[in-house]
């Protein structure tokens, strides 16, 4: 089935009976339908999800979520110390100018340079290395956010080099505690997962859902 004209609600036509592993109130993304299936396999509700044509993301496929009024955040990136983008979540990003790879590189490069620059320009620091000489993560002063008229970017870096970036509405307050919480979530769901190889992009649905839920609750 083509699946591009997903307007009708007849789940039988979409092959709902092909639902495998029907579980208790779990949502199944089947072709263009969002199906809620009850424990006994009965289909309770079936409606087409927001059909937004997106280029396939090789990093972390994120199902398009309709922006609710409580949804403040636009995007989330998590990088490791080698520049690998471990996670990219997107909730509200109408304008996309670069493909994923370039976008991640740009973001990482931007932060790398900003960190270096802010540390070198620190008026309170006695010892200044030369501009361009890499610093140890967490050393010296560290910037934590910048704001423009359309968005605010909040940044956190752990001493182990894990960088968490959250882009939100410009009137968002200080998100340092929230970023720490996201780091905790990363530890619980990703690092502690024995089947996850460190240094590779994260493919963990539970982590994605938990992060989505948490970010949606941010004021």
């Amino acid at each position: 089935m083509a699946g591009t004209n997903a307007v009708d609600f007849n789940h039988r036509q979409h092959g709902a009976q092909q639902c495998k592993n029907v579980a208790d109130m779990r949502c199944r993304y089947l072709y263009d339908c969002r199906i809620w299936a009850a424990k006994n396999g009965r289909i309770l509700l079936c409606y087409p999800r927001n059909y937004v044509k997106k280029p396939p993301s090789l990093i972390s496929p994120s199902p398009p979520v309709p922006t609710a009024s409580g949804n403040n955040a636009y995007m989330l990136y998590i990088f490791n110390r080698n520049g690998v983008c471990l996670l990219y979540r997107e909730w509200n990003r109408p304008l996309k100018t670069l493909n994923s790879q370039q976008d991640h590189k740009l973001m990482f490069g931007l932060l790398f340079s900003l960190k270096s620059l802010t540390a070198k320009m620190d008026p309170t620091c006695v010892d200044k290395g030369n501009l361009g000489v890499p610093q140890l993560p967490g050393q010296g002063c560290s910037f934590h956010s910048f704001r423009t008229n359309t968005y605010k970017l909040s940044f956190m870096e752990s001493p182990s080099g894990i960088k968490i970036i959250l882009v939100t509405h410009p009137r968002t307050g200080d998100l340092r505690e929230s970023l720490k919480y996201i780091y905790n979530l990363y530890v619980e769901y990703v690092v502690k997962n024995p089947l996850y190889s460190p240094g590779t992009p994260v493919r963990c649905e539970l982590f994605d859902t938990t992060v989505d839920q948490y970010v949606r609750g941010l004021g």
């Binding site: 890499p134 967490g138 752990s158 502690k192 460190p198």
Partner: protein, 186 residues
């Protein structure tokens, strides 16, 4: 905003989920036993334990940083203190002490009086040469590598071999600052 102070090892230890000590000790014992059966050579087992410890350390460091709120340590002395006081307390429930600093401050000894891994353990004659707790040296090495420090960790004293305490020597080989990972032509 004032920086949040690091939490002491006791406070975190009280808050994390804990597992039964005997279960932990017996599980570790089972692992070592199985390695001895599979690999037969004591040196191979030592190396494998070190490698396992390394893989654990690489992941453990993130959990440590997330739960303990320590910021970057200023120098290696502070690092060793943090490992002994906060790290060991948080994960093993025992506090270690640091001593025997060398002149440059790059080598120190971490001394463990009490080690939950070796409860009930006695090394038989066939296993002389085995570093039973070698996983700990791997863990420290792996964790420090993720915070840009290349180290070498060896055992100086081992209670299972008749000494009075466990002593780990941690030697800092070099600090590796992070470099821009992408090539400039991209």
């Amino acid at each position: 905003m004032a920086p949040v102070a690091p939490r002491s090892g006791d406070a975190i230890f009280a808050n994390v989920e804990r597992v039964n000590a005997e279960l932990f000790t017996l599980t570790y014992g089972a692992i070592v036993r199985q390695l001895l059966t599979d690999l037969e050579e004591v040196e191979e087992v030592n190396k494998q334990l070190d490698q396992m410890g390394y893989n654990i350390g690489v992941r453990l460091v993130d959990e440590f940083l997330a739960k303990s709120n320590v910021s970057r340590c200023v120098d290696f002395k502070e690092t060793a203190e943090v490992i002994a006081k906060v790290g060991f307390k948080m994960f093993l429930g025992v506090t270690a002490s640091v001593s025997n600093w060398d002149a440059e401050g790059t080598t120190c000894s971490i001394i463990l009086e009490d080690n939950p891994l070796v409860d009930f353990v006695e090394l038989p004659d066939t296993c002389q040469g085995l570093y039973y707790c070698n996983i700990l040296s791997g863990v420290i090495r792996g964790a420090l590598e993720m915070v840009s420090m290349k180290t070498e960790v060896t055992w100086l004293r081992d209670m299972l071999r008749g000494d009075d305490a466990f002593e780990l020597q941690v030697k800092l080989l070099k600090q590796v600052p992070e470099e821009y990972p992408y090539k400039d032509d991209e």
